[in-house]
Amino acid sequence: MQFNNLFSILPAAVLALFGCVLLLLRFDSSRPYLIFLAFAELLAAIGLWRQTDFLGFTGFRGAILIDPFGIAFNAICLVAGLICAVGAYRYMEREDEDHPEFYGLILLAQSGMYLMNSGTELITVFIGLEITAVSFYSLTGFLRSNPRSSEAALKYLLLGAFSSGLLLYGFSILYGLSGSTHYLNIASMLATRNSRDPLILMAILPIVLGLLFKIAAAPLHMWAPDAYEGAPTPVTAYLATASKAAGFALLLRLILGPLHDLRPAWEGLITFAAIASLTVGNLAAITQSSTKRLLAYSSIGHVGYILLGLVAGNKTGIEAMLLYLLVYTLMTTGAFLLLSALDREGVTDFRGLLYRHPGVALLMILLLLSLAGLPPTAGFVAKYMIFLSLVQARQYWVAVIAALYVAVSLYYYFRIIREMLHNPDDSPATLTISTGWRAAVGLTAILSLGLGLNPEPVLAWARSALR
């Protein structure tokens, strides 16, 4: 029993421990911090890998569950954390904020995400969510000398606290209705309830809204562009991917677990949020002059696509969501990290990049093509699966709308590519590139192409995660 408990949270414990140690360290160079972080991630990865032999184990009386679903989401978060930290090294040095706390907070956030991904008990996942959120508040404000960073952190903190409150409120009603905080017990207690029951609606509405905030879906997306823009760019990459993935894990576990039979109660809200995210994200991105904001809005659009898998609601849909999240994590971290290498963030600062730095420009083009979802990139496979699930659920109109927004998104992604083709300016943006950055962005771009040419491994991975 004792071993089970410890084993079930081993990766989170490792991450938290190393994170705390990092907070205490002081070296002259920031390189050791990175090695330390990589070592912690390696240990966590080994822990996750070992867990695959112990599927079905629970820890802390069912509060933590080891299952393929949780392992898959943890893997996504781990990849995102590692890529962002490795790629962030030179950026933080340039901003003169290369403190060990940065890497420590990344690890702490990830330990919180572990609880969100694997938790099957309301209090556990809420604590995980708060650990993640608090780490991110600090990470967002990490550029202390930059007022925009602090502003973003404050905005994120205030709105984040509000949404956490909302979520907790929903949790408390759910607890009141079922008398338990464990998903399994809640499911059996709610089985007799009607989905039109006002009490059920009072529980589901705040829960779903609170989680929509965490994944930055419209109409609760207002914080995202500001927070994403102000945060240090590598943190933006991390926030836009891992934090969203963990939010989705929590949402899916709740909605497909205890709340699954109450589908009529949340279906409309989720559909509305999906279509609204597609609309807001894609239309608002068109007019942005800052690449960072553009990518922030585009990430809202991507959330819309991912939610469509839940709108379809069938097995293909959930598989598609998982696949989409993995692919989205790769291409979004890649795109944000690439942006972090430039010293300015306007769309026009990409002008002439193709001729000055053809290699970097080609990486960006690959990532943008994947974000837009053009074949033969991984982004296409992800969208393909979403469309397929909608077709299977006979939601033809939704599929048509989603398909048309691909063309809209193409327009703003190609705005960036178009700038790259202009002749260079007199004072072009300068690039700062480290070996780690090369490895991180190169890996994301190569995978974005490679997984599009041969998607079989990721398809198999997504299927195995839902066994």
């Binding site: 053009l374 074949p375 393909y384 397929l388 048309l404 327009y411 178009r418 079989e456």
Partner: protein, 499 residues
């Protein structure tokens, strides 16, 4: 080995990869290598044409697993129709590249790399027998084309490139949804996932589902063809693209749309295609394209734009023939696609040659070219006549078959199409008169006539145009089985009735 389609398909792309290793400081080497690769590719394809056996359906089949869990395969093969288009693609692609030997002077290496990748992508569209593979090539070809237009195009190149890519992708995403509907219906009926075209053709979606599939696929392919209300991207893209880009767009990429109709729509949803209101809409849109395209051509001042609009009109003929749903119309449509590739490709190349000499596309800047450039004027005459559809050139055979098919379907439609033929003659002859006849202005007096390389480019076009015009029977033999295959889906009783 010699008829391995995978090798032929990826030869240009491989050549492009090797090209990236060549030094960009030696432009002649870069040009020579790229043209050598495209030339070998064209010759190889033409030898395939010789080995093709018109009495069989799919040939030179390559079938490898690709995404087994989705039922998508790496499935290549050609029948008579795709063989003709494939041969036309490789040959026209090479000649267009050879014609642009001196046209490009900036970022030469990148230009040829894009071109070689584009060649592989467009060839893949016609070789794929798997619908998902077809779609991947269909979309992937947009990316090199975007760069060709946006980097090496004319004044408005970036706007034109954006319009081109956003417009076509909007359509093709709907095509994807339509394809998925068909694919899923196939799964529902048979219990296994497959994207291979023969499997999809066996599906018979009916009623509302058929209509959904039809209109979604229509939206995607109609943009590509382009059909009347969806053609607005075309004049900009064709005009702003460099010569080689215009040739690829007009000769090859427009055929992807009609090819998609004949491969996915007609055999895919035969029940829906037969419906009277669907046929009515298709024919009316085709006729609007024919007549409207021709009328717009009459008032163009820009030589290249005129030829771009003439494509709208000519592709209208292809659509009309296809939707007359009889062997004459469909075979005429198929052949006319090849003919259009030859004649419009040649016209764009000729405009490109003049643009290299004078750097203007205004028709009014020319005039009296017959004096300094008799050979050019002669070639231009043949190209125009071929495009008009006058005997004994290739356009005549195709248009005649299409009109035969249209008459069989409905006399008024055929008469409207006949009006289109008259207008085509009018705008092309008028253009010819304004460019080559009359007083030679001082600016045009010193122009050099066709050089040896330029003759090498135009001669194959002339031979093909006259060859198909005088002796089209081999082409019709190749098309017989593909046409029959479609007819058996669309009108199973047609042959029985007519006997």
């Amino acid at each position: 080995m010699a008829d391995n389609l995978t090798l032929i398909l990826f030869l240009p792309m491989l050549g492009g990869l090797i090209l990236t290793l060549l030094p960009s400081s030696k432009p002649v080497l870069v040009k020579f290598w790229a043209n050598l690769v495209l030339g070998c590719n064209a010759l190889w394809t033409l030898t395939l044409l010789g080995r093709f056996d018109a009495t069989h359906d799919l040939q030179f089949i390559q079938r490898l697993p690709w995404i087994p869990s989705l039922g998508a395969e790496f499935f290549l093969g050609v029948d008579g129709y795709s063989m003709l288009l494939f041969a036309m693609t490789s040959a026209v692609g090479f000649l267009a590249s050879l014609a642009s030997w001196n046209a490009i002077d900036t970022r030469l290496k990148e230009f040829y790399v894009s071109l070689l990748i584009l060649q592989s992508c467009v060839a893949g569209v016609f070789l794929a027998v798997d619908a998902l593979l077809f779609f991947v090539f269909f979309e992937a070809s947009l990316i090199p084309m975007f760069f060709l237009i946006a980097i090496w195009g004319g004044e408005q190149r970036r706007m034109a490139a954006m319009k081109f890519i956003v417009y076509t992708v909007a359509g093709s995403m709907l095509l994807l949804v339509g394809l998925l509907l068909l694919y899923f219906e196939h799964w529902r009926q048979t219990g296994f996932f497959s994207f291979s075209l023969p499997a999809l053709w066996a599906t018979k979606p009916e009623g509302d589902l058929g209509l959904w599939i039809f209109w979604l696929m229509f939206a995607g392919l109609a943009v590509k063809v382009p059909m009347a209300p969806f053609h607005t991207w075309l004049p900009d893209a064709h005009t702003e693209a460099p010569t080689v880009g215009s040739v690829y767009l007009a000769s090859i990429m427009l055929k992807m749309g009609t090819y998609g109709f004949l491969r996915l729509v007609l055999p895919g949803v035969p029940e829906t295609v037969k419906q009277a209101n669907v046929l009515w809409w298709m024919s009316v849109l085709a006729l609007i394209a024919i007549v409207y395209g021709a009328l717009v051509c009459l008032k163009q001042k820009d030589w290249k734009r005129l030829i771009a609009y003439s494509s709208v009109s000519h592709m209208g003929f292809c659509m009309l023939g296809m939707f007359s749903l009889n062997p004459a119309g469909i075979s005429g449509s198929m052949l006319q696609q090849v003919n259009h590739g030859i004649s419009t490709g040649l016209l764009f190349i000729l405009v490109g040659l003049m643009y290299e000499r004078r750097h203007t596309r205004e028709i009014s800047e020319y005039g009296g070219l017959f004096g300094p450039m008799p050979a050019f004027s002669f070639v231009f005459l043949i190209a125009a006549v071929s495009s008009m559809g006058l005997p004994p050139l290739n356009g005549f055979v195709g248009e005649l078959r299409i009109l035969t098919g249209a008459f069989e379907m409905s006399v008024p439609w055929a008469l409207w199409a006949g009006l289109g033929v008259v207008l085509t003659v009018a705008y092309l002859l008028w253009c010819y008169q304004r460019v080559t006849l009359g007083e030679t202005s001082a600016k045009n007096l010193g122009l050099a006539d066709l050089s040896g390389r330029e003759w090498a480019v135009v001669l194959p076009f002339l031979i093909a145009a006259i060859g198909i015009g005088v002796y089209p029977q081999p082409a019709f033999d190749m098309l017989e089985r593909p046409v029959k295959q479609i007819m058996e889906k669309v009108r199973p009783n047609y042959y029985a009735q007519s006997n």
